[in-house]
Amino acid sequence: MTDLLVPDAGGLYCAAGDFWIDPLRPVPRAVITHAHADHARAGAGEYFSARDGLPVLTHRVGESGRFTALDYGAPFELGQTRVTLFPAGHILGSATVRVESETGTWGVSGDFKRASDPTCRAFEPFACDVWLSECTFGLPVYRWPPTHEVIDDILDWWQGCRDAGRPAVLFCYALGKAQRILAELHNRAAGPVWLHGAMQPLTEVYRRQGIEMVATRPVSQADKGYRFAGDLVVAPPSAAGSPWMRRFPRHSAGFVSGWMRIRGHRRRRGYDRGFVLSDHADWPGLVETVEDMRARRVITIHGSGEALAGHLREAGLEAECWNLRASLQAARSA
């Protein structure tokens, strides 16, 4: 029997429902788990997304195409299937997808995490036969410290910079992580926090959806010659090493990412400080979620899935690793 979902167009294709999940190439019908660029691209004829995620999605992919907002937990029919979105806890409006058909029920993650996040609804498990799990951090070395400890560390570092009269430049992804940090800092730190231009519009989208965050100002509004001494500046990693950084003489650079769990990852990027905070599940989170989904079969996608699949096989489950990007390359060269 063929699988309900198969790799295609850089995402997953469901023939029974005639739709794609997170395709990277233009397709007629796309179910989008969340608006990060490796999951959501412009050019689909029709988009289905969680209601909370729609403003960010249209901000990212534009308004062309038809958009359908879906409520979490409310099933809708697509072809021969019944599709339901559940909160993924990854970023605002992120979802996991349940696809029910007469051949069985599949659960598909885009990205997800199990740690709490003030900007989005917590991950909700559901029962399925086959679980397609993201596996960005699929090795047991990835174990996240509690969020409040990491925020304490960030505040301590900022205080140290304030004492030394230096700017504290914190790098993090512009969508999701930045707003999560700004929300965590709400009520814990006095603003304003300076924002890189790339983060400004997305942060506004979050604010319009009622996410409470510390006060922010775009760096572009600072006076000419202002030196940001003791201030916190939040910027995307792409700004590191760019001429833009000359605005922050003597700065200390921190990076917030799950990758910072590994010392070498931080050192080769030249960051002074690495803060281990991720919007993805860590290894215990991945393993725990497999149990919570009660699936008989697990397929690892997005990242280094071989180790997790091997580990699950040893635990008696059916498990394999799919490379969705390979489907994109095959389609390209064909």
């Binding site: 070498g264 050192r267 002074d272």
Partner: protein
Amino acid sequence: MRAFARLFDRLDRTTATNAKVEALVDYFGTADPADAAWAVSFLTGRRIKRLVNTRELREWAAAASGLPLWLVEDSYEHVGDLAETLHLLLPPPDTGGAPPNLSRMVNDHLLALREADDDQRRRAVLDLWRQLDGSERFLFNKLLTGGFRVGVSKRLVTRALAEVAGVDSSLIAHRLMGRWQPTAEFFAALIAAKSDDDIDPAVPYPFFLASPLDNAAETLGEPDEWQAEWKWDGIRAQLIRRAGQTYVWSRGEDLMNGRFPEIEAAAEPLPDGCVLDGEIMAWRGDQPLPFALLQRRIGRKKPGAKSLADAPVAFLAYDCLESDGRDIRTRPLAERMERLDHALRAAPGLLRSRPVDFADWDALPALRAGARERGVEGLMLKRLGSPYRVGRTRGDWWKWKVEPYTFDGVLIYAQPGHGRRSGLFTDYTFAVHDGEQLVPVAKAYSGLSQAEIDRLDRWIRGHTRERFGPVRSVEPVHVFELAFEGIQASARHKSGIALRFPRIHRWREDLAVTDADSLSDLRRLLDGGRQPA
């Protein structure tokens, strides 16, 4: 251990040199001298001999963390640092008790492992893993596995110690030379304010290192203020004759006594209180022999008659640092040359690296171009008025090496790097054409920019053909220009050749695989190059 771990955290949390020195000064100024001595030892790159083999460590960590061994191995391959991998995999510690001081940790726990049997060692390590947390546990693993690089150079440590002691850093550098035991007494003497009368006769001076000449020689000023010498292709060494004893030190601060008996014999007639800087060379008659012959001698602690006959060595002196028991490093080079000649008159078995005559700067390029035929690496330029400085100080000593050989090779294998490059494919194997086949001829690790490394890493992940453990074979698509210093016939390599110091010059995206060089191109260098008997 705790204070040392906090020092490590401070060093690890900044990329600024001044902040690192400040952290070191704070630590050395307040630490217990016995702890500080061990800290100096580790931070300057000295290791304790490996106490536990890494296979055992991996097995114990697997058991302690409830993971299968293969998952520990996969994790190590990803992280690229065993001490860190173990630390990240182990469960959180049991208790919050204070860990022992650094010196007690080393003396009572680590060094005690040497006498312990297998079972005792396992239990001792597991106990400490259960007690230690955070950076303490990571550092404990680092000490256990021997390697210790934390982003501070010996130079920075020297600078900080000089600041604590209130003396010149060249004095600290001297006190750190040679062999010493990390004890409280040693540390007290290290940061003492007084002068250096009490230095052990075996202790060498810090070496002065040349910098690569990056501007035209003309920019150095008047040619008659400079001395040119051949840059010899041997082992840099310091030859000490003091108190009736001879000591031969390598630049890596290994005492090499016993390895080169012909040099020790030749040094015996030197006047007492004499220290020479020079090069150990494989040498026969008045000719240098290839470096490969010298390599056969380096590994032999007590060479037999056959290696002495097959690979004879000589000491080529080019500087004199101590004469008649007086440190003359601050005297100008021209004067030191006179003292060198004086010393060598007594010891005719030692050779003198003669200055190369040149009237003006225009004469140098031709001399340098002929270096390879002479069996030397290029030219050295030294300011006649300069003192003998410490370490890599720019301005007075320049090295001007011959242009390396180059070839265009095809990337065929890649494997992940370690440390700073962990998790990235940065160790590459390159091949050249041999008929229909591609044969590997060189491994290279350096030469690409971070952006190129990142791009190549992504490409490798998407174009892997096969995996052999950590090694991946990739589609032969990318061509790179590689530089190397020399070539030797080799029976151990499939290609039949071995290249010396290969490194990546450029990513040649303009070239296709068919444009890469062939094995016969390289072999031609072997036949045409200098191959003295």
